[in-house]
């Protein structure tokens, strides 16, 4: 297991973090959510942030997504600074697509309208954006449900629509915060396979947060293990299995060895 040498030699990473730090709370009871952290995610990589609760993995992802401002440090997306003087830079933001634990579809919009919402906000005209939404429905496997209300879809299908929405404006980077955490185990396994397929078809850079070790090892090119109080990078593990990975990978001895190593380390740091 390599040490916390997180900075890669890649001069133009998709995501670059330099001494990113986050404090929460008041002056009297400050909480150190994330100690100064360096991390570089190369383009096209599938990176998983894994760790026990309170390790700052969601905080880290939300900072990359521009939802929380770091207390200090520098954050660049495709070489462009995300924050400048307390304001988010829209060129950097438009390279990011976010998927949350809940699908967060708007119940008053149909599935295709939900998927087309980001394009609507950007002023793309109706025919174009709905055509794009229908194309994405095919990609994520919910063709035929374009005109349905979100409440008419199952949890897994709603999450597919949420992924389609994040992909609508074709960002280079997909940020996913425990996207399948609210799904049952069987749907979750199916969605992991689907996500791998979508990732391979679209060639995005993905950062995914999870607390499931099996999910992390199955999906990741590289796992960043975080430890709590304060949140910091504990270690980085490369996952060597070739793509596309099928379910059978999970029963291999090598897979099990990585899972075991991570489980032991997680127990030590939790």
């Amino acid at each position: 297991m390599s040490s916390a040498a997180a900075t890669s030699t890649d001069p133009h990473p998709a995501i670059g973090l330099k001494a990113i730090e986050k404090w929460y709370g008041t002056r009297d009871t400050p909480v150190h959510a994330l100690a100064p952290t360096d991390l570089a995610v190369p383009e096209g990589q599938f990176l998983v942030l894994l760790g026990p609760s309170g390790c700052g993995k969601t905080t880290l992802l939300r900072m990359i997504g521009g939802l929380i401002e770091p207390t200090s440090g520098e954050l660049s997306i495709e070489g462009k600074n995300l924050w400048r003087g307390g304001d988010r830079q829209s060129e950097a933001l438009s390279e990011l697509g976010m998927v949350f634990q809940e699908a967060n579809l708007f119940p008053w919009l149909t599935i295709e309208q939900n998927i087309a919402l980001p394009l609507e906000l950007k002023g793309v005209d109706k025919d174009k954006r709905l055509a794009r939404a229908r194309e994405l429905c095919k990609l994520v496997g919910i063709a035929g449900f374009e005109k349905r209300w979100p409440k008419e879809l199952s949890g897994g299908m709603r999450q597919r629509a949420a992924i389609a929405r994040a992909l609508s404006y074709d960002p280079h980077i997909l940020l996913m915060d425990e996207p399948f955490g609210a799904l049952d185990a069987m749907t979750r396994d199916a969605m992991n396979l689907e996500l791998q397929r979508i990732w391979m078809e679209t060639k995005k850079t993905v950062v995914l947060v999870t607390h499931s070790i099996g999910e992390a090892v199955f999906l990741a090119d590289r796992i960043v293990l975080l430890s709590p109080r304060p949140g910091r990078i504990d270690s980085i593990i490369d996952v060597p299995f070739p793509r596309a990975r099928g379910t059978e990978v999970q029963t291999s001895a090598e897979f099990q060895a990585i899972v075991r190593r991570l489980r032991v380390r997680l127990a030590e740091i939790s």
Binding site: G66, R88, M98, F106, W108, L121, R197, G246
Partner: protein
């Protein structure tokens, strides 16, 4: 590589929003039956006890009087007056209630500053203020409009505040991550999200607006269904009083159902629109 998971599309009739069920049909049968039974009891009571027509006229007389009302241009003038006072008052209640509600829900200090006053306007029995409105705004339509607006305003305000405050944090995250402007957030998230709440406020508000208009007419002026009712009372024409009451009730129903129709048009996605 495994194939993508296939999902078959269910036939539309399975997902149809409104299914005609036995429960859905029930009120269409029970309501006329119960109304008819009530009228029969009323009729039998009047016939067997021989009660004075000044106290309780027979349903047939009331019916005749109501039909006569429908034929009378004068009665319609009163009706239009009440409808106008109700709708104008209701309109201002919506403008002020929704506008102020959105601001209060978003601006913390404004809520804290205004809250005691808003509660005060609610605790004061507003109907008791009607004579004051007559003094201030005269016997014309203005005082009726104001009573209607004051009564309808509060449920619209509180429901709007509740609606804007109930917006899902996850939905806000989506708009933030998409770099939406304040106006886009209002138009695409806050307004549609609060709409079911606002419509609930309107449903209560319209009923209060018509009550406000009629009470306003009781106490001032000689136009409107409220004034007509008082005139009939003073003339001891109980059968015509009943006819006016029926007229008022039907007006209330019409307004209430209009809001219900608005619900189905504006928020077809919401559960409340399906019944």
């Amino acid at each position: 590589m495994t194939d993508s998971v296939k999902i078959s599309v269910p036939p539309p009739e399975l997902l149809a929003k409104k299914r005609i069920t036995r429960e859905g049909l029930l009120p269409w049968i029970t309501t006329p039956v119960l109304v008819f039974a009530m009228v029969v009891v009323w009729h039998v009571y009047v016939k067997t006890t021989g009660i004075s027509a000044f106290i309780l006229p027979a349903p047939s007389t009331v019916w005749t009087e109501w039909l006569a009302m429908l034929d009378s241009p004068r009665a319609w003038r009163h009706t239009y007056f009440t409808i106008y006072a109700t709708l104008v008052g209701f309109f201002w209640a919506i403008v002020i209630g929704v506008g102020l509600g959105v601001m209060i829900a978003r601006i913390r200090w404004l809520e804290q500053t205004l809250n005691p006053f808003i509660v005060a306007t609610q605790v004061v029995p507003k109907v008791a203020l009607v004579p004051l409105f007559v003094v201030w705004f005269g016997f014309g339509i203005t005082s009726k409009v104001i009573v209607a607006a004051v009564l309808a305003f509060f449920p619209i305000l509180t429901n709007t505040v509740l609606g804007v405050k109930s917006i899902d944090e996850g939905h806000r995250d989506v708009m933030t991550s998409l770099n939406a402007t304040r106006w886009q957030i209002f138009k695409r998230l806050e307004l549609p999200s609060a709409l079911p709440y606002i419509l609930t406020g309107l449903e209560v508000g319209i009923v209060l607006a018509i009550i406000g208009a009629i009470v306003g007419e009781y106490l001032g002026g000689n136009t409107g269904l409220g004034a007509l009712l008082i005139a009939r009372m003073n003339a001891y024409e109980t059968d015509q009083m009943f006819a006016v009451l029926i007229h008022m009730s039907l007006l209330g129903f019409a307004f209430y159902f209009a809001i219900g129709a608005l619900r189905r048009v504006l928020i077809p996605w919401h559960q409340s629109a399906s019944h």
